[in-house]
Subunit: 383 residues, 4 copies
C-alpha cells in the first residue's frame, strides 16, 4: 500500500534548474550546461530515468521560448517526459523596474498582461494545464507607490488572465515575502494570494514555495489550512537556512519537509484528484545540476515515505487523549525510521536501480554532455 | 483641518495596563496599583483627563469581572470615560492546558464557549459594541493534535459566538504568531483570521496587534489590504524589538507606527464610519503605568499627526511619474516634521495642558493613589 | 567503539525541569510535582535510572536552597546521582527590576554580587565544580541606561566572582538575545560572553543555550568556533521554533541537534578532557516532566550516535575534492540512519531496558509520587 | 558647538554606488552611469560638492582597477575628493566557487591572498590607509567543508595581510550573516571578526555593515561594545527591511540609525582620533544614483545631528535615578526634533546650498552626463 503510493508519486522538475544560476554577487559557470530548452529537457529526462517519479518538466517563459512548442512537446515525449507548468516571467525587462502588472504606468501593465496571456497560448500549444504566476512586483521605499492601488491593478490583471484560461486550465499564484522588492511585495504572503484566488474562482489556487516565508513561519499550518479551503494548488520545493536561499529541498530542514508532507497526506493533498502539483523550484549554484535534482527528488520521496508511515490510528487515539508525548512519539517514530531500504525496494520493483545517484554517476551521461556541449551560450536565468 | 482630525481621534486604553505585569521570569510589583476594576477605571480616566483622546477603556474578563456591570458602566461615566471592547480570556483555567475552543475535549470546548457567550452578555450589560477574541490555543509539539480538526473546532465556536451577537455588536478576531503556543498557533496570521471572518459575515473583523508578527513582516501592507477588503476591525497597539515584547507603542519603531497610520488614513480607516478601533494593548513591566499610557497615547497622536501632514497630492504626482526618491521624500518630509508644537496647540484649544506628561506629574494623582492603595491584592494578569 | 562512546555520555538534568513551569500567560499545574529539592533529586534519579547517562543534577539557587547542602549532596548520592552545576538567580527579587550586577544602583549590585558569591559557597558545600551565570539584565527602552556603563559593571562583578573561584572550579557565562530584557540584553550573544571570559582567564567559559539566538543563527558554527578557541564550557540544551520556547531538545529541529553534536565531536568537545558540560535546560509546560526529561536525554543520545556514525575519513576526502554533493551525502547518510537499535543495544549492555520510556511508564513511579505528593506547594520557578 | 561637529563630519562614498546594480533577478540599466573609475570619481565629487561632508571615495578592486593609480588619485584631487578605503574582492573569479582564502584548494587560497596583497600595493599607490576585507566565503550545505579548518585558513590569510600592512595602514574585517553563503558564512558575526582582529593587533579592526545582521540584532549594542574594546574600525552604512537589502541608509529605520550614532558619540567614536570610518555601502537599484548618495549622506547627517542634541547630562541624571520614562524621554526629545533647519544653517555657513537635493537637481549635472555618457559599458558589479 505505502509502496503503491510511493510508486505513484509525481514530482516536477524545473527546466531552469539545469542552467547556470547564482547570487547577485556571481553566477559560477559549470561545465556541460544546456544551451537551449531541448537540452534542458534531455537533462530533466535523466532525472526521471533514474528516479521514475519525475515525468514532467516545468518551462519558464521567455527562458524556454522556442519557435515551435508542439515540436518541443513532441521532443519531450520522445525523451519520456511531458511538459508541466508554464512559468511566467515579468521581471526581466527593463520596463519592469517599478513593477509589471502593478506598475503605475498603464503601458507597462499592458505589456506584462500580454506576456501572461502569451503564456496561456503556450499552455494551449504544449498541452500544459497549469500556469504559475510569480510577480516580483513591489516597492523598495515607503511612499514609492500606493499599496492599495497596486492591489487594484494586480486584481485587474489576474481577472484578465483568469478569463483567458481554458476549461481544464488553472493558474497558481505564488507569494513571496521579499526579494527583489525590499519594502512592499505585492503578494507577500499566503493570505494575499488566497484572497485574490478566492475572489476569482476554482481555477485560481495558491502555490506554496517553501523558501518564501518570514523566519518562524509554520509552513505546514499554511498547507493544512489551504487544503481545508480547497485552495492549495501546489508546491515549489526548495530549502533555506536564512532567506530565499533556494537550496535542495530537504537539505536545510528535513524534519520540516516531513511535517509538510504529513499535512499534505492528512489533508488529502496526496490523492490524485486533489491535483496538487509537487514541483521543485531551486538553484544549484555550486553543486552539479542533474545530480542535485536527483538528490532533491529523493529527498521528497524520503519525506513522503516517512509521512506515509505515520500510524494515524494510534496518533488519533493519543491526540484525543491529550497525550502530548505519546502523540509526538507516534510522529517521531515514523520520522526516525530509515526509509531508504523501502524506497530501494520500490525502485527495484519499478525496474530501476535502487540507488539513483550511483546509477546516474555510472551512466556517464554527465561526462558525455560535458564533452558535447562546447560552444554556444550556457542557459541561465537570463536566457 | 488637521487639527480637527487630531481633536476627533479616539484611542482606547486597556484596563489591564494599570495592573502589574511581567514576564515568565518575574512580575515586579509597583506601588499604587489598582486593586479592582473600579480603581483601574479611575486610572484610565487620568489618561483621558490629560490627553482628551482616550475616552474609553477596554475590559478583560475575568480580570474585570464585577457583580454589577451596570454599576461599573455608571461609575465609568462619572469618571468621564466609557466602557470599550470586552476582551475574552480562555487561557487561564487549568482546563485550557491543551487549548480552549480548539481543545480535543468537547467538555473543555463547551466551557470555553460559555465564557465567550458570557462576554457577549457583559457587552449587553455594559453597552459595549465590540468583543475582542484572542485564542492562546495551539500546540507545542508536532503531532500533538490535528491542525485541521482544530480549525474545524475553531470555526464552530466562532459561528456560535457570531450568532449570539446583537445587531450593533461585532467581534474582532486577533491573530498571533506564537506564544504561548510554540509549534502551531491556531490563529497565527492575518490570513487565518481573515478567512474565518470572511465566512461569517460583516460583524466579524480582524484586529491587528502590532506585536504579533514574524520578523520582517510588513504590517502596514496588512493594514492596507484589510482596509481594501473591509475587514480591518481595529488595532491592538504596542511595540517590540524582538517578539511580543509589549512595549509602549511607537517606542521601538516610531517610523513603522507612522507608516501604519499613513495607510490607515489613505485607506479610509481614520474616518468615523470605518469604525476602526484604535486600542492600546501593552504592558508596563518596569515603567509607571499611568504615565506609560499617557506617553503611548501621545505616541499614537504624533504618528497620526505626521501621517496627516503627508502631501498626498504631491505624493500621487511623484508616484505616477515613477519618481522613487521624490515620492519617498514627500513621505519623509512629513515624518521628519516635529509635530509636538501642533499637538500642543490642539490640546490648548481643547482646554488641556499642552504637555500631558508634565501636567499629570504635577497633578499629584500618582502620589495620592500610592498612599491610598495600601492593602489588598494589586491587580494583575491573574485577577 | 561508538558504543563505548555512547556508554560514556553524560547529560545533566536540571532540577527545575521537574517543577511546574509555564509562560507569562499561565503556569499549568501538574500532578505529582516535587515540593522540595529532595523530591526533585528523586525525580532526576529516575531519569538516570532508565537512561544510564544522566548522573548529575543541576541546582538553581534560591529555588533549591536548603539548610544543609552536605545533606542534600549525601541524599543525591544515595539516589545514585550527583550535584552538577550551580545556577545563580539574580532576576527574581523586586530589587532587580532594572538589573542585578548591571543595575545603576550600587546597593543592588552589591546584593547581586553577594548572591553570586553565595553560589560559590554552595559549590564548596556540594562539591560542584561549575557555576552557571545567566543575567536577565538589560533595558527595555532606548536611553533607559547606558550600555557601556552596564558592561563596566558586569565586568566588575565577573572579576569578583572569578577571583572567588577555587582551583577546580569554573564559571560558565550564558548569553541570550532577549527576554526578559526587550531592548538591550547585557549579554546578548556569544561574542559578548566570549570577550568577557577571554579577559578573565581559563576558568571562565561560554555556555551555549540552544534556544537563545536570533532567527537564522548558525549555532554549530558558534560551537566549532568556541571549541577552536578553547572557550566552550557547555550547553544548555532545549529547542524552539520561534523564540526561547524551551521545548524538549531535538523536538523542533533534530537535524540541527545532530549538526551541533557533529561539530562537538569534530572539535574534540566530546572528549572527557574537554570538560564540556552537556546540560538540559528546558521546561515541560504541558507534557509530563520526568518522561519529558527521559525523552530529551534520548534525543541527545540519538543525535550523538548519528554524529559518531559520520564517516569522517570519507568526508575529508570529499571535502578536499570540493565534492559538494558527495560531502553532504556522507553527513546525511549518518543522519538518515535509524540509530535506535544501536542505542537499544548499548542500553542492554549497560543492564538497562532498551526502551527507557516504556520502562519508566511500567515502573509505576509516576503513579506513586502522584499519590504521595499531596499537599504542600509544588515546586516552580518561584520557589 | 554642535554645528562645529556637524561641519567636521566625514562620510565616505563608495565608487560602486554610481554603477549599475540589482538583484539576482535583474540588474536594471540606468542612463548616465559611469563607464570607468574616473567617471565614478566625477560623480562622487558631486556628492561632496553639494553636501560638503563626503570628501573621500572608496575603491573596489578589481572593479576600479586602473593602469596608473597615482594618476587616479591625482584626478580625484582635481575633483576635490580623495581616495578612501580600498575594498578587496575575492568573490567573482570562477575559482572562488567554493571559497577564496578558506577554499580547501591551496592554489585558490594563494590566488586570493595575492589579490589581497595587491590591494595593499594599491593602498601604497593611492595613499589609502584602510583596507576593507569582506569574504563571501562559506558553504551551502552541511558537511560541504570543515568549519574549523576554514577558520584556520582564514586566520593564516589574515596574518599574511596584516604582516604586509604599513605603519599607517590598517584593515577592517567585515562580517555578514549570510549571502552568498547559505549554510555557513566564515565570518558571520561581530564576534568572529572581533576574535580574529584581537589576535592580530591594533591594525585589525571590525567594520559594522548595518545590513548584515540576523533579525532582531541590536546593532547599537555591538557598536558600543566594540568601541569599549577599541575595535570599531568603521561602518558600512545602508538599510534594510528584511535581509541585506542595501537600501539607502536611514530609509528603513531612521530611529535605529539615530541610536547607532548616539552610541558612536557616547563611546567616543565621533572624535577624530577614534579613526572610525563612516562609509556608505549600498546599491541604488531603482533610484538615481548620485541623488541617492546625496540623500544617504543627508540621512546620516540628520541622525548625527539628533544624536548630538541629546542632553546627556539630563540623561545621566534620569538613568542614575532609575527613571525609565524620563531617560527615554530625553533621548526621544532629541530624536523628535526637526534638525533640518539646523543642518541648513550649517550648510549655509559652509557656503553650500541649504538643500543639497534641490541644488543638485538644478545643477544640470545629471542631464549632462546622461547625454555625454553614450556608448561604452556602464560600470557595474562585474567590471
Amino acid at each position: 500500500m505505502i509502496k503503491d503510493l510511493l510508486r505513484r508519486q509525481r514530482i516536477e522538475t524545473p527546466s531552469w534548474a539545469f542552467g547556470d544560476s547564482g547570487t547577485r554577487f556571481k553566477v559560477f559557470a559549470q561545465a556541460g550546461v544546456p544551451r537551449d530548452p531541448y537540452e534542458k529537457l534531455a537533462d530533466a529526462a535523466q532525472v526521471h530515468r533514474f528516479t521514475g517519479v519525475a515525468p514532467t518538466v516545468a518551462l519558464h517563459i521567455p527562458w524556454d521560448r522556442v519557435a515551435d512548442y508542439a515540436d518541443l512537446a513532441s521532443r519531450a515525449a520522445e525523451l519520456g517526459v511531458g511538459i508541466g507548468a508554464i512559468n511566467s516571467n515579468v521581471f526581466q525587462d527593463d520596463a519592469y523596474m517599478l513593477g509589471s502588472v502593478t506598475n503605475p504606468d498603464p503601458k507597462v501593465r499592458a505589456r506584462a498582461l500580454d506576456h501572461l496571456l502569451e503564456c496561456v497560448d503556450i499552455m494551449d500549444a504544449t498541452g500544459s494545464a497549469t500556469l504559475k504566476l510569480w510577480f516580483s512586483d513591489g516597492t523598495n521605499y515607503p511612499g514609492q507607490d500606493d499599496i492599495r492601488s497596486r492591489q487594484d491593478r494586480l486584481a485587474q490583471a489576474l481577472e484578465r488572465v483568469y478569463a483567458r484560461l481554458g476549461a481544464h486550465q488553472r493558474f497558481l499564484l505564488e507569494y513571496k515575502l521579499f526579494e527583489p522588492a525590499f519594502y512592499v511585495s505585492d503578494v507577500p504572503d499566503w493570505g494575499t494570494a488566497y484572497a485574490h484566488c478566492l475572489r476569482l474562482g476554482d481555477k485560481a489556487q495558491v502555490v506554496v514555495d517553501t523558501g518564501h516565508h518570514a523566519p518562524g513561519t509554520n509552513i505546514e499550518f499554511i498547507v493544512a489550512f489551504l487544503l481545508r479551503e480547497g485552495k492549495l494548488g501546489g508546491f515549489d520545493f526548495n530549502s533555506r537556512f536564512y532567506a530565499d536561499d533556494d537550496l535542495m529541498v530537504g537539505a536545510a530542514d528535513p524534519f520540516q519537509l516531513f511535517r509538510i508532507m504529513f499535512e499534505v497526506i492528512g489533508g488529502g493533498g496526496y490523492d490524485a484528484e486533489a491535483n496538487v502539483a509537487f514541483m521543485l523550484d531551486q538553484c544549484h549554484n555550486i553543486e552539479p545540476k542533474i545530480a542535485g535534482q536527483i538528490r532533491s527528488v529523493m529527498n521528497v520521496q524520503e519525506a513522503t515515505a516517512k509521512a506515509l508511515l505515520v500510524d494515524r490510528a494510534a496518533l488519533a487515539v493519543a491526540q484525543a487523549a491529550g497525550d502530548v508525548l505519546g502523540a509526538n512519539a507516534v510522529v517521531m517514530d515514523a520520522y526516525n525510521t530509515d526509509v531508504r531500504p523501502l524506497l530501494g525496494q520500490v525502485r527495484t520493483e519499478m525496474g530501476l536501480d535502487p540507488d539513483p545517484m550511483a546509477a546516474y554517476a555510472r551512466s556517464g551521461y554527465f561526462e558525455r554532455v560535458r564533452d558535447e556541449r562546447v560552444g554556444g551560450a550556457p542557459a541561465g536565468w537570463g536566457a
